[in-house]
């Protein structure tokens, strides 16, 4: 096997908003050789097929996803980073050495620092263990958007959307664009307080409802559902979209032996985006699933200083103790204590009204904070993290709980 061996200063894996922001920031900082590897033919990550507005920065104003993808790639290039698309990172040959495959052959690239920005995906039907037949017409939002916006494929006539998160709205919009009638949306969550003013395009939102089976072959004919109170129904449709329920694309992180966080299922990391592997940083959806592109880009920008510091000093401070959560909290990112953090992202499994967050280490209260609003399940809420500095780096886990 012949591999072309090379060395760069910084290797970024994944050219989504997070990886591109990291590359742009790092390239702007000085004469470093920064390379971004992207397995798709075009850079930009998920926004490439989010054909609607809501993206962009204060400078750009509101952009569509594809325009934002172009913008992010252009920024990184303009700053001096090398973007290489159609190249897949397939594994590790050393602690900061990665193997890649592209039409030009096999490469082995060693870097002084590696930034993983491989993103996340929605759990597909099988991973959610939804029983039934295996018909055609079953999508995730990612596949649906690509089918409609990149490939202009025929979808179906009547659809059900599973999920009630921002990406579920995007799925519903995409279906409407494709001329598919939206039959219903289904969520296990209780109704939202202001349901009357929420979006949804007229299709009923079935709350407290679980999908129990898919029927039909070779094409989907229906989605069976069960309400919490025991009522069941079959929603007749030929298309179903499973939305949200994120899982980080963590294969590379795990193959590299990076310690993982059990809550996010992304690499464990501290406020400086350091993973358990010296010289390897991680940013974006890989850390916490599908938060907005703005969050991913923000993390990409925020990793610049820690990476530069690491290149300058070679230091890799031992990470602090883990940050753990208790129900109904599902995860926190970062999930290792350490200095330099500005905020934590927290996710809850159910709606919380003005929750009181308490952080304790070895029984002692480190921080208390009441969030003066209602936080929904399904998208993370931020918490200022300056208090993390007070955690004893050699102490036990820092536990985050709600109330008392």
């Amino acid at each position: 096997m012949t591999r072309r061996e090379r060395a760069v200063d910084i290797l970024v894996v994944g050219a989504g908003p997070a990886g591109l922001a990291a590359a742009a920031g790092l390239a702007a900082a000085g004469p470093l050789h920064i390379e971004v590897l992207e397995r798709e033919q075009t850079a930009g990550g998920i926004p490439r097929h989010c054909a609607h507005g809501g993206f962009g920065t204060r400078e750009t104003g509101d952009l569509s996803g594809p325009a934002y993808a172009l913008h992010c790639a252009a920024e990184a290039r303009r700053a001096g980073a090398t973007l290489r698309t159609g190249l897949t990172v397939t594994g590790w040959a050393g602690p900061r050495t990665l193997d890649a495959t592209g039409p030009g052959g096999l490469e082995r690239i060693t870097a002084r620092a590696v930034v993983l920005a491989t993103g996340a995906r929605e759990r597909p039907r099988a991973a959610r263990l939804v029983p039934g037949t295996r018909p055609a017409g079953v999508y995730t939002t990612g596949e649906l958007q690509q089918a409609v916006h990149l490939h202009h494929q025929h979808i179906g006539t009547r659809a059900v959307v599973i999920g009630d998160e921002p990406v579920s709205d995007a799925a519903a919009d995409t279906l409407r664009t494709a001329g598919v009638h939206l039959v219903a949306r289904v969520t296990t969550h209780p109704p939202r307080p202001l349901a009357a003013v929420r979006r949804g395009g007229g299709a009923p939102l079935l709350t407290r409802t679980t999908v129990t089976a898919l029927t039909g072959r070779p094409r989907l004919t229906g989605v069976r559902v069960r309400h919490e109170d025991g009522r069941t129904a079959t929603l007749a449709c030929d298309t179903v979209v499973f939305t949200a329920d994120w899982i980080p694309d963590h294969e590379l992180a795990r193959r590299g032996g990076l310690p993982m966080d059990p809550g996010t299922r992304g690499p464990a990391h501290d406020p400086a985006y350091r993973t358990g592997q010296p010289g390897v940083f991680a940013v974006g959806s890989l850390l916490h699933g599908g938060e907005g592109a703005g969050t991913a880009a923000r993390e990409g920008r925020a990793v610049t200083a820690p990476v530069l510091r690491h290149l300058a000093t070679g230091a890799w401070p031992v990470s602090g103790p883990p940050l753990t959560v208790e129900e109904p909290l599902e995860w926190t990112a970062p999930n290792l204590a350490g200095p330099g953090g500005t905020r934590l992202l927290l996710r809850t499994a159910r709606r919380l009204t003005a929750p009181l967050l308490v952080a304790r280490q070895d029984g002692a209260v480190l921080h208390r904070h009441r969030v003066v609003r209602t936080v929904p399940p399904g998208s993370a809420f931020p918490l200022a993290a300056d208090w993390l500095e007070r955690a004893d780096p050699r102490g036990g886990a820092v536990r985050l709980t709600i109330g008392g």
């Binding site: 397939t90 495959t101 052959g105 597909p124 039907r125 099988a126 029983p131 995730t140 490939h151 089976a213």
Partner: protein
């Protein structure tokens, strides 16, 4: 010779009757067609669906059995033993992935532990002499991640896992290239026999043949009834399976079998040649031959069993769930019957070992030909065949620098999770038996079969299939 493969919308070829027609292009029917292809016969293979191996053969546990636990003295025991050798050799020649991972039959309580010596003796009676007993300590050393409480195991070092998809595809490809006519989308609806000739009424017109071989799997009883025989009934026994992510592969080294009970072979945990881990199958006796859906109860049962066998497996992501139907007939053996007076052979009741036994079943069936009055003539060698390397045990195309240098399409990944390249997809779409659907392409290349189930590549793959069709 241009291969003859016909599909929906195309006429069936005219001309003289076929010498032999095989109904059913599962792993058994394609193996028989391949064996017949070695002889100077006009042979047809007729399949109801749009692809080969679209029935039970696409949805099994993919184990190449030694037959150590078969009922000694049965035809099945003999054909599994012979078939294992034949298929292992065929796989070696064609590049079908096989991994000899070995099996451990694990005893979880005293009763099961006490049963192991008897199973060892049974293996010996089946002509299998490499099995041996392991104590609790050796068992745990072999499988560091199994759950607590394993008291011992019977080791069967030659049990292997194989690719269930390229096996029948290799048979069908060799058969078709050697001149067998394959008629897809061609359900046999009626049969008539007169003057030594069968007339088959199919969804695409009529076909005439001298000898008829019924290899219709779950519907072998229905075809037999069309021939006027009511000797057995196929009752589907459903097996649901869960495929776990490749990141779970390091948790398990062997095929982990339960000690068999009256209720069947039980739920196993096994690696696949693709680098995943399988958990299953269930065993549910049903009446509906199309009931390949999974159920909440079935999946819950599998998870409960799996948690005991390999607790950490349950923390890993699930890649796929599927179900297959075994052709149970109420008899613990195959039902292979030749009827010389009616020039037909029924190959029925090929239950839970048909993949392993397929080549031996084919040899056995062809050995019955002279008894039906058909002299098959001298066998010849088939042209060699190389199958796409789908297994993780060998370097796949995306890791082959020489191949990529010759053709950069092998350096462009389309399906990221399974690392399937543009070159492989193109090859499948232009092969002797091109797929018509995303599932057919997945069985030939693994494209779309990975953990994201199409999130990243589904639309791109469909575009390529549609492009190839138009």
């Amino acid at each position: 010779m241009t291969p003859t493969v016909t599909r929906a919308g195309q006429p069936l070829p005219g001309g003289p009757p076929y010498d032999v027609t095989v109904i059913g292009a599962g792993v058994v029917g394609t193996a028989i067609a391949r064996e017949l292809a070695r002889h100077p016969l006009r042979t047809a293979l007729v399949e109801a669906t749009d692809d080969i191996a679209n029935g039970t053969s696409k949805a099994n546990t993919a184990i190449l059995h030694t037959g150590f636990d078969a009922v000694p003295g049965t035809l099945e025991a003999r054909l599994v033993r012979e078939g294992q050798r034949l298929l292992a050799a065929h796989a070696g020649r064609t590049g079908i992935p096989v991994e000899r991972v070995g099996a451990l039959l694990i005893a979880w309580d005293q009763e099961q532990l006490d049963a192991l010596p008897g199973l060892l003796a049974k293996a010996e009676r089946n002509g299998y002499h490499a099995a041996r007993l392991l104590d609790a300590e050796e068992t745990a050393a072999r499988e560091p991640h199994i759950g607590p409480g394993a008291l011992g195991a019977l080791e069967i070092p030659d049990e292997a896992v194989i690719c269930p998809w390229t096996t029948p595809l290799s048979y069908a490809t060799q058969a078709v290239r050697a001149g067998v006519h394959l008629h897809l989308d061609c359900p046999v609806q009626d049969l008539a026999y007169a003057d030594g000739l069968h007339t088959l009424t199919t969804g695409r017109g009529t076909l005439r043949t001298g000898l008829l071989i019924n290899a219709a799997g779950l519907y072998a009883d229905a075809i037999d009834r069309l021939l006027g025989h009511d000797t057995f009934t196929v009752r589907p026994r459903r097996g649901q399976l869960i495929v776990f992510d490749k990141l779970a592969r390091d948790l398990v080294g062997h095929i982990l079998l339960p000690v068999p009970t009256a209720a069947g072979k039980g739920v196993l945990v096994a690696p696949t040649v693709f680098g995943n881990v399988l958990l299953g199958p269930t065993a549910e006796d049903l009446d509906d031959k199309t009931a390949t859906e999974s159920t909440a109860e079935g999946l819950a049962l599998l998870r409960e069993k799996g948690r005991r066998i390999l607790p950490r497996l349950l923390d890993e992501e699930v890649t796929a769930v599927y179900a297959g139907l075994r052709a149970a007939t109420g008899q613990e053996d195959y039902r292979i019957t030749a009827r010389p007076e009616q020039r037909s052979i029924t190959v029925g009741g090929i239950r839970s070992t048909g993949l392993t036994a397929s080549m031996a079943i084919a040899e056995y069936v062809v050995s019955l030909l002279p008894g039906t009055g058909l002299d098959p003539g001298e066998p010849t060698e088939l042209a060699p065949l190389t199958m796409p390397g789908l297994g993780e045990g060998a370097d796949r195309p995306y890791l082959d620098a020489g191949l990529i240098a010759r053709d950069p399409a092998y350096g462009t990944l389309v399906c990221h999770c399974e690392r399937v390249t543009e070159g492989e997809i193109r090859d499948a779409l232009t092969s002797t038996l091109p797929p018509r659907s995303a599932e057919g392409l997945a069985r030939r290349t693994r494209a779309g079969n990975g953990r994201c189930q199409g999130f990243h590549c589904g639309a791109a793959i469909r575009a390529r299939i549609e492009g190839a069709r138009s």
